[in-house]
Amino acid sequence: MEIRVNPTRMELNRLKKRLTMAQRGHKLLKDKRDELIRQFMILVRKNKDLREHIEKELTDAFAKFLLARAVMPVENLEEALMYPTKVLRLDIHRQNIMSVYTPRFDWVEEQSGGAEESSIYPYGFVDTSAELDTSIETLSKILPQLMELAEVEKSVQLMAEEIEKTRRRVNALEHVLIPRLEETVKYITMKLDESERGALTRLMKIKDVVRAKM
């Protein structure tokens, strides 16, 4: 389908300009899409490995925790965990991956209650079981990876969005706008040629008529 226009030389120039612009945009977007996909694949592989690792570790930690819960009175357990020794605070910076803004998480541990450097266990060892210790140790060990997973996964989600958008634009340009413009340019050129030929034949005819009268 072509765009409805007046077949004039002005219109033709305008359309040609639009066409070159569209082609340039198409090329740029295609490059953007390719680079986005390349970076996306790197991230997504990392995401998959991290997630598999973390799911294993977490399940492990939870299982130990469940054991601790089973061998300890509930009151003791809750009491032991009532006051955590630290509070996590998150600083978020924006980072730019191919004009996709993704958050970068930097976390800091703050000791709560102004205590000096304390252990990861918020309780004494008298009333608690060893399973609880190992469970909490595993948890605090995978915390950095958990934060990394959060960051990578968010980036992957945002990039997937952006890639989908870019791909749509590339396709719209490639399969709709550019063919349409090309067809319209062709239509106008043919129309102009046709009227030129028409004018020429008319002139020749007039010349014949004039000559016959002389």
Binding site: T59, F65, L88, L90, F105, I136, L146, E153, I163
Partner: protein
């Protein structure tokens, strides 16, 4: 730049341990309660929200909506009964969305 907090939503058995490492815990038992907690957390300076897969199951649309936003990052974690594979499934669907085919897990789809 401002400071954000980290939260975890899940059943009590799974998430109580998180409290010791300084993450705010929100024990809930039903999907509805999880949904309400989530809504509260989103408007309250939480940068990362961990939620167990079991609870996430009933609220996919809310979580998908979060995935499109810059913040917060909603991350699925397994619960004490192990993983249900929803987290991995999400990665797969991301790949499919971006590339159009699932090339990461070598399955024809």
């Amino acid at each position: 730049m401002s400071t954000y907090k980290i939260a975890v939503i899940g059943d009590k058995d799974s998430i109580l341990g998180f409290k010791t490492i300084g993450v705010d815990t929100f024990p809930v038992t039903s999907t509805q309660a999880a949904l309400d907690t989530m809504k509260k957390l989103v408007s309250d300076q939480y940068g990362v929200i961990f939620i167990t897969e079991a609870l996430a199951q009933g609220m996919e649309d809310v979580i998908n909506e979060m995935h499109k936003r810059y913040l917060p990052a909603v991350v699925l974690i397994p619960n004490s009964r192990g993983t249900q594979g929803i987290g991995i499934e999400q990665i797969r669907s991301n790949v499919e969305k971006a590339i159009g085919a699932d090339i990461l897990f070598r399955k024809e789809g």
